[in-house]
């Protein structure tokens, strides 16, 4: 919350790239969450955690300007949400590609670069060459060079996710919004993609807001955690938020955070509280 600013100190001397102040969201007459304060600085890795249906994806939609807030203020890169265009990269909750889809991964990445322009691309010219270079560069950055020229339907889940992250990154955004990018990946791919996102975040200075079910694969890359539950939010460094006391208070039921052998916390007894789950299933978490 407000205390989070001092906690991560040095990085936030500049203006935050993303700022929510007392934000509340109503969907279909129901208040999903309210009083959410969040500041994200450049190059910070923030995870949005919480049970299903609590409004995690809605938080991302608010930042994108696709969902208005009912109360409070939201500022994205100093402006109103939805007005920053290519300065915000977005990876929606996945949908994997049809195995029969024969479009190459590199073409999917290129659509992220020029997909909103009218007409058909000209296959010549300096601009075209520059764009091709950028696409190759970003595909190399995510480590998907080997599979980029295969039909995307034939790529594995991890390869598809890397290509989609490349698509979100291709216009050099300052904020990257990732909605459950580790969902439906196997364990090795989860930690590989998590490490990739952490590397992009800290090396390229891109602020990352990642919605996640499971904090474990991303925990040691994180700068900050937003935990949404029961219409409220707690924000702070993972060591403070992911604790038995904080989570138990959020859920109003006992939640235990255990330590593994190498000191990583594991959330146990994750309660799917009926009060939170009672809403319409159309509202994704």
């Amino acid at each position: 919350m407000t205390g989070g600013r001092e906690m991560t100190g040095a990085r936030e001397t500049a203006r935050p790239v993303l700022c929510l102040c007392g934000a509340a969201v109503r969907v279909g007459g129901r208040t999903l969450w309210s009083g959410v304060d969040l500041e994200v600085g450049a190059g910070e890795f923030v995870a949005v955690l919480g049970p299903n249906g609590v409004g995690k994806s809605t938080l991302v939609k608010v930042v994108l300007g696709m969902q208005p807030v009912a109360a409070g203020e939201v500022s994205v890169l100093g402006g109103r949400p939805g007005e920053s265009g290519s300065r915000v990269g977005y990876l929606p909750q996945r949908r994997s590609f049809d195995p029969s889809l024969r479009i190459r991964g590199t073409d999917i990445v290129r659509l992220g670069l020029d997909g909103d322009r009218w007409g058909i691309p000209r296959p010549w010219g300096a601009r075209r060459a520059r764009e091709r270079e950028r696409v190759e560069e970003v595909i190399e950055l995510v480590g998907a060079t080997a599979c980029a020229h295969r039909p995307i339907g034939r790529c594995s889940g991890g390869e598809q996710q890397r290509l989609l992250i490349a698509q979100a990154l291709v216009r050099r955004p300052e904020i990257l919004l990732l909605d459950e990018p580790l969902d439906s990946l196997d364990l090795p791919n989860q930690s590989a993609v998590a490490a990739l996102v952490g590397r992009i975040c800290h090396q390229q200075g891109v602020a990352v807001v990642m919605v996640a079910h499971d904090v474990n694969p991303i925990l040691h890359h994180l700068d900050r955690v937003v935990y949404l539950a029961e219409g409220r939010a707690v924000c702070g460094p993972p060591s403070e938020v992911v604790t038995s006391a904080t989570l138990s208070r959020l859920y109003r039921t006992p939640v235990e955070v255990l330590r593994t052998g190498d000191g990583r916390p594991v959330v146990v007894g994750h309660p799917e509280t009926p009060a939170v789950q009672g809403g319409p299933h159309a509202i994704a978490g």
Partner: protein, 288 residues
């Protein structure tokens, strides 16, 4: 139908030149629209529109108007309606399916209305013309209209091609990027409607689905670059149109609609063989 006049000398006849000219633009439009129809998994919508094409044309005849007026009005209107009813500008299967059986019944009602009000012979002829097409029966004026509409559809598809591809493959990201996903879906189905009306003149409402789906299906199977696939789809459609017209001119007993569809189906089947050959290819390379 002017099948009786088709023969070895058909090459030099004006009706054949009209058919070649109109057919080229009809095929171009069908190839371009069909590619997105296949990618968006909306081929079924094209099928529904073929029924509307028949009903629209029959309604126009029954009301005493030009057949083509009903054809285009019906198809474009139905395309927009399907887009409006279907969620997010994408007509879903149940909506499409329940609408089109009823519409075909309505078409037979209009046909009966038309035939009972005029002489039975011409009425039946008009029904057959719309159902199976009569590309060899186009006069100069009709050819010009077909060429202009076909060219218009091509220009429109090429203009929206890139954002439409983005919206097709990645709707959520495209919407977040500011692509007007819903308007594009609506506009595209209006184009599909116009294209269905256009193609009905060449191959008839019963067979137009083949002209929309077969070249595009082959192109989707052959090309893994989207804009190459788009061009290939249009190119294949034109080649199949020319082949069909040529076969029909050489063998007068084969109606052009059949010959065009036969060529289109042959190419589509050939892509399966090609895919198999390609699948064998890399295995041979790794053996070396």
């Amino acid at each position: 139908m002017t099948l009786a006049t088709a023969g070895p000398s058909a090459w030099s006849q004006p009706f054949f030149h009209h058919a070649l000219l109109a057919g080229t633009f009809i095929a171009l439009a069908a190839g371009l629209v069909g590619y997105f129809l296949v990618l968006r998994a909306q081929v079924f919508t094209g099928d529904a529109l073929s029924h509307v094409a028949f009903t629209g044309a029959m309604a126009a005849l029954a009301g005493g108007y030009d057949l083509r007026l009903g054809l285009f009005a019906g198809c474009v209107g139905a395309g927009l309606l399907l887009a409006g009813v279907g969620r997010r500008g994408r007509a879903d299967d149940v909506v499409t399916g329940s609408a089109f059986a009823w519409i075909l019944g309505l078409g037979s009602f209009f046909l009966t209305l038309y035939t009972s009000s005029r002489s039975g012979v011409t009425g039946g002829g008009a029904g057959t013309t719309v159902l199976f097409g009569s590309i060899f029966g186009l006069n100069g004026g009709q050819t010009l209209v077909a060429v202009l509409i076909g060219a218009g559809i091509c220009v429109a598809v090429l203009l929206i091609a890139r954002p439409l591809l983005f919206a097709t493959l990645d709707e959520a990201v495209a919407a977040a990027r500011g692509v007007p996903v819903r308007v594009l879906g609506l506009g595209f189905l209006a184009l599909v409607g116009a294209c269905a009306g256009e193609a009905t003149q060449a191959v008839g409402s019963l067979l137009l689905l083949g002209l929309l789906a077969a070249p595009a299906g082959a192109a989707v199977r052959l090309a893994d670059r989207p804009f190459l696939g788009l061009g290939l789809s249009a190119g294949l459609a034109v080649l199949e149109m020319w082949t069909g017209l040529a076969i029909s001119a050489l063998v007068p007993t084969l109606p052009p609609s059949f010959a065009i569809m036969a060529a289109a189906t042959a190419v589509y089947v050939a892509t399966f063989l090609f895919a198999r050959l390609r699948a064998v290819g890399p295995a041979v390379v790794t053996m070396e």
